[in-house]
Assembly symmetry: C2
Homo-oligomer: 234 residues x 2
């Protein structure tokens, strides 16, 4: 049995707590980060609070191994005087949507082999995809995640704006959106690239630009150039 304490009330804390409760080899307790006076002893203490609060919360914890769940905070930002680690589930969580942790990559970091093994056991109690990722790598992953999640979603938003202007239902684009994501399971993004930019089809590019507003044109032009230069600066 591994004892786990989760500190925090956000989406990550909520879903982790729910999953650990069902795990056979885990004994879990969830604690509000404003009530740190009586933290139960635990093998692993998981701080799942906002990035800015991690240092402060961790400084008040004396449990043996303290980890955070953030993609963008270095392991050494933890201010506990005991052992440190990272337990970062790379997925976009919302409270009202069920999480299938079997599909969530767990990015783990610790300073000793023993601690890594312990975190691996904890992760495997609810998940399947385990990666050992150091703080530098995790920071890169976090930026990369902004591109494939935040920025991609914003491209959907621009497409929705374009559709709205011409009274076309956005749902017409749904199958293409799903197919674009699915395609990348088997092909590298480089091989999956299609469209007027990669074909250097100037006529279509010109026609497209003529239909966009100034701001959309700026994004269209920059991304078209980037595709043509394979993601590199001219």
């Amino acid at each position: 049995m591994i004892s786990v304490v989760i500190i925090g009330q956000g989406n990550v804390a909520f879903h982790l707590n729910k999953a650990f409760t069902k795990a056979r080899n885990i004994e879990v307790a969830q604690i509000n980060s404003r009530k740190l006076e009586n933290i139960p002893l635990a093998d692993v203490t998981i701080i799942a609070v906002s990035d800015d609060a991690i240092a402060k919360v961790s400084s008040k914890i004396n449990n043996s191994l303290v980890v955070h769940t953030s993609g963008s905070v270095a392991m050494n930002s933890l201010k506990n005087s005991t052992r440190k680690g990272v337990f970062y589930p790379l997925q976009s969580f919302s409270k009202d949507k069920k999480v299938n942790f079997k599909k969530v990559p767990f990015c783990l970091e610790a300073s000793t082999e023993n601690d890594l093994e312990l975190l691996e056991k904890v992760a495997k109690s609810i998940g399947k995809k385990i990666y050992f990722i150091n703080s530098e790598q995790r920071k890169s992953l976090h930026v990369a995640a902004v591109f494939v999640n935040n920025f991609t979603n914003h491209l959907y938003k621009i497409a929705a704006d374009i559709c709205k202007k011409q009274n076309v239902p956005f749902e017409v684009l749904q199958p293409l959106i799903q197919e674009t994501a699915k395609k990348i399971k088997k092909l590298s993004p480089e091989k999956a690239q299609t469209g007027p930019a990669i074909r250097n089809d100037q006529k279509t590019i010109k026609n497209h630009l003529a239909m966009l507003n100034e701001h959309q044109q700026e994004i269209y032009t920059l991304l078209t150039q980037s595709i043509q230069n394979n993601g590199r600066k001219l």
Copy 2:
């Protein structure tokens, strides 16, 4: 029974021919666009050639109803002297990947109600999602498709580059990529938006920029501003 002739040898022609062959109420023939001397008579003649060749190919056809399959070409670019229409399946096709036409939106256009009904019957013989979309709307859809397909795929490519630089396997991002696309089935892109840009988390944005090369920074900055202005110009 509706007779259909498909002109062209590309991916769209290939998959349409394959699907129509299995449809009960369609009699189909596929013709090479370089052998237009002996086109069989047909109720619907579908020109599935490159955008630039549509005008020329159509000018040589005397069958009653002639349609093209392009997202970016106006119906009136067809140069046949008989009736005209558009039969645009909005999906990304590759020859070696099976197409489920039940999930493909068919964007139809014609100048008479009768022709629209005929095209609808033809589309319904292989598909389920039928939309009546005029030439202006279709042009907008085509630009929007560039955003959700070509540009989104390029963001995947940039993310892959970032991962590669730090020796992180790109597959770690796969579940997030799939989830980002799935989320949009139920939420509008506006409601689905998360991340440092929409939270105006300057500290994280600064950290991210420090990890990117100049070209990636330019894209990051432009898309971050665009998210913060809800897709509008400052």
